[in-house]
């Protein structure tokens, strides 16, 4: 078990290192001088030089890379070119919106998908199955930002149950804050829940065809007991993979939904940074999201080992 975890941890570190290189090198080739961009066309040559010096742009690429990575390791993400504030502070503010939103959506999607998938699998081919699968088919096909717009139209503009956008802030209290994340979370969760429910169902149906289910039935377990006691845990492995991938999509996909609801999350930070050519911010946010994706996949791998004794190795 420990060996398995260490091995995965090593590959995690390597992936992150290569990812940081890719991000740094791609943004290194960007044409244009951030200092000139910040100060405008009429800037004096000596103020430009001073700003370049301040931003560390005069150093060689190797040194700037090591500065960047070294800084990130101790929580220093550098200083924003445009706002002149520490990037780490800006990111921290935004993570308070993006992370709860992703978790909220993941929780919703799992809570919807598990019962729906299990229910459909248990009633394979019956009307319940057909209806549930039909709904998920629509859920997979719907663009989440369009669904979000429709929800705004119905629940915010017509029914006035929610605000059309914006974030109440955690200072306003837990429930008002969560309320302002509810429509975005539903919009994010619906397509993911549909995918997850379909994976759950087909994985369960595959498992129900396995020999050991027949063995369990021969012991006297009913169809339902065999499903709950033997099929479910075995069916969970592909489902875990999808949950891991979905978390990545929820974090990154939230960028679009944040735009629909005007939420001050990481996504909007990135868009503002791109239009202001504030590359240090783009670099750091992308790196952070990559880190989140890789970390979640690592946790999913550990979860596999918890579910499956074969991965824990022989004793």
């Amino acid at each position: 078990m420990l060996r398995f975890a260490l091995k995965r941890l090593m590959s995690l570190v390597v992936t992150l290192w290569v990812a940081s290189l890719v991000i740094f090198l791609s943004l290194e080739v960007v044409p244009g001088d951030p200092a000139a961009f910040m100060l405008g066309l009429n800037a004096q040559e000596d103020t430009l030089a001073a700003l370049r010096d301040e931003l560390g742009l005069n150093k060689g690429p190797v040194e700037r890379y090591t500065d960047w990575v070294g800084g990130m390791l101790v929580g220093d993400f550098g200083t924003s070119y445009t706002y002149r504030t520490p990037v780490s502070r800006m990111i921290l503010d935004r993570v308070q919106v993006s992370l709860p939103l992703a978790l909220y959506a993941l929780t919703l999607s799992t809570l919807i998908a598990f019962p729906a998938g299990i229910w459909a699998a248990a009633r394979r081919g019956k009307p319940t199955d057909i209806v549930v699968m039909g709904i998920t088919q629509l859920g997979v096909a719907i663009p989440n930002f369009w669904f979000a717009m429709l929800m705004v139209l119905v629940f915010a503009i017509n029914l006035r149950w929610f605000n059309a956008g914006g974030f109440a802030g955690w200072d306003a209290g837990f429930f008002p804050a969560m309320k302002s994340l509810t429509l975005p979370a539903i919009a994010l969760a619906l397509p993911q829940a549909s995918i997850l429910a379909r994976v759950m169902r087909s994985s369960l149906l595959d498992t129900l065809n396995e020999d050991f289910i027949r063995t369990a039935r021969a012991k006297g377990l009913s169809r339902r007991q065999a499903l709950w006691r033997h099929a479910l845990r075995n069916a969970l492995i592909p489902v875990l993979t999808i949950i891991g991938l979905q978390f990545a999509f929820l974090l990154a996909g939230a960028i679009i939904i944040e735009n629909v609801f005007f939420l001050p999350g990481l996504g909007r930070l990135v868009f503002q940074a791109i239009s202001a050519r504030d590359l240090i911010v783009v670099e750091s946010v992308v790196m952070l999201l990559v880190f989140a994706v890789v970390l979640v996949n690592f946790l999913v791998d550990l979860a596999y080992a918890a579910v499956d004794p074969r991965l824990r190795g022989r004793r």
């Binding site: 088919q137 997979v140 663009p143 503009i157 996909g253 868009f271 783009v282 999201l289 990559v290 994706v293």
Partner: protein, 271 residues
């Protein structure tokens, strides 16, 4: 012919046909503004209404279909064109350094959801439909590489591959003569799924301004334009969204139908 396949293929065909017809004819030129007739609800003259520049929404959707389909199709082409050979090569050298490099590179790309790739490309080169294609295409490469590799790995253990090796055939020849034809079913099914995901991704990128730029009409762009007017002009948001939904639905149903048709395991089930 199963129902999913027929219905899905029909739905997809409607939009492909609309895109093709738009090259020759559209109800109204989408580059012409007609401010006098802006934001009109559906009427006999404009079956789906007009937008904030007075352009005919039906025509916009027909032309927008070109963008969506072209972006998604080319992205699938990039994914297959690079991913399939990589997957075949990795499987042929299973456990070797080539396999290791290809799989690690796959993991790396998977760490960047397509939206992040698009953001980086936009940060570097600016936003355009081409960049959307590249971003979605790059993301498709590991999808096809993994699928091909896992399909190929199980084929490499089969006796008919051993027979080909006994006949003195090399790994490259076996990959193309024996492995590739037997993974095409998997690839066709995954291809339709990636096609539909590509359409969704393109719409999302265009919606946030990272995809096709005006004046090129695109479904995502139309939705972005409609957002501030959704309270008094819901038709502007409704129809482009429905176009995306129905196209993706059609492709997904087609994918499911193809899977049922092509998967020998399911076929045996049915007999």
């Amino acid at each position: 012919m199963n129902r999913n396949l027929a219905f899905g293929a029909g739905l997809t065909a409607v939009f492909v046909l609309a895109a093709l017809i738009s090259f020759a004819w559209v109800p109204q030129d989408v580059t012409q503004m007609d401010i006098a007739n802006k934001i009109r609800p559906p009427s006999p003259a404009h079956p789906l209404g007009t937008d904030h520049f007075g352009r005919d929404i039906l025509s916009m959707i027909m032309v927008g279909a070109r963008t969506s389909i072209a972006v998604a199709l080319v992205a699938v082409g990039i994914g297959m064109g690079l991913g399939v050979p990589l997957g075949l090569a990795a499987a042929a050298r299973k456990g070797g350094w080539l396999d290791e490099v290809i799989m690690r590179a796959n993991d790396l790309v998977f760490a960047f959801p397509s939206l992040l790739i698009a953001i980086m490309i936009t940060a570097i080169f600016g936003a355009s439909a081409l960049n959307a294609i590249i971003a979605i295409g790059i993301f498709n490469i590991p999808v096809f590489a993994r699928l091909t590799r896992s399909g190929a790995l199980s084929l490499w253990t089969r006796d008919f591959v051993l027979a080909a090796r006994v006949a003195g055939k090399g790994a490259a020849r076996i990959s193309f003569e024996h492995i590739l034809p037997n993974v095409t079913n998997l690839l066709i099914v995954q291809g339709t799924i990636q096609f539909s995901l590509g359409i969704l991704a393109e719409a999302g990128l265009s919606y946030v301004g990272l995809g096709a730029q005006p004046p090129t009409p695109s479904w995502g762009r139309m939705l972005a334009d409609s957002q501030t007017m959704v309270s008094f002009a819901p038709h502007m948001a409704l129809f482009p969204g429905l176009a995306i939904l129905l196209t993706v639905l059609g492709l997904n149903l087609m994918g499911d139908g193809l899977r049922d048709l092509l998967d020998p395991r399911l076929r045996r089930d049915r007999q």
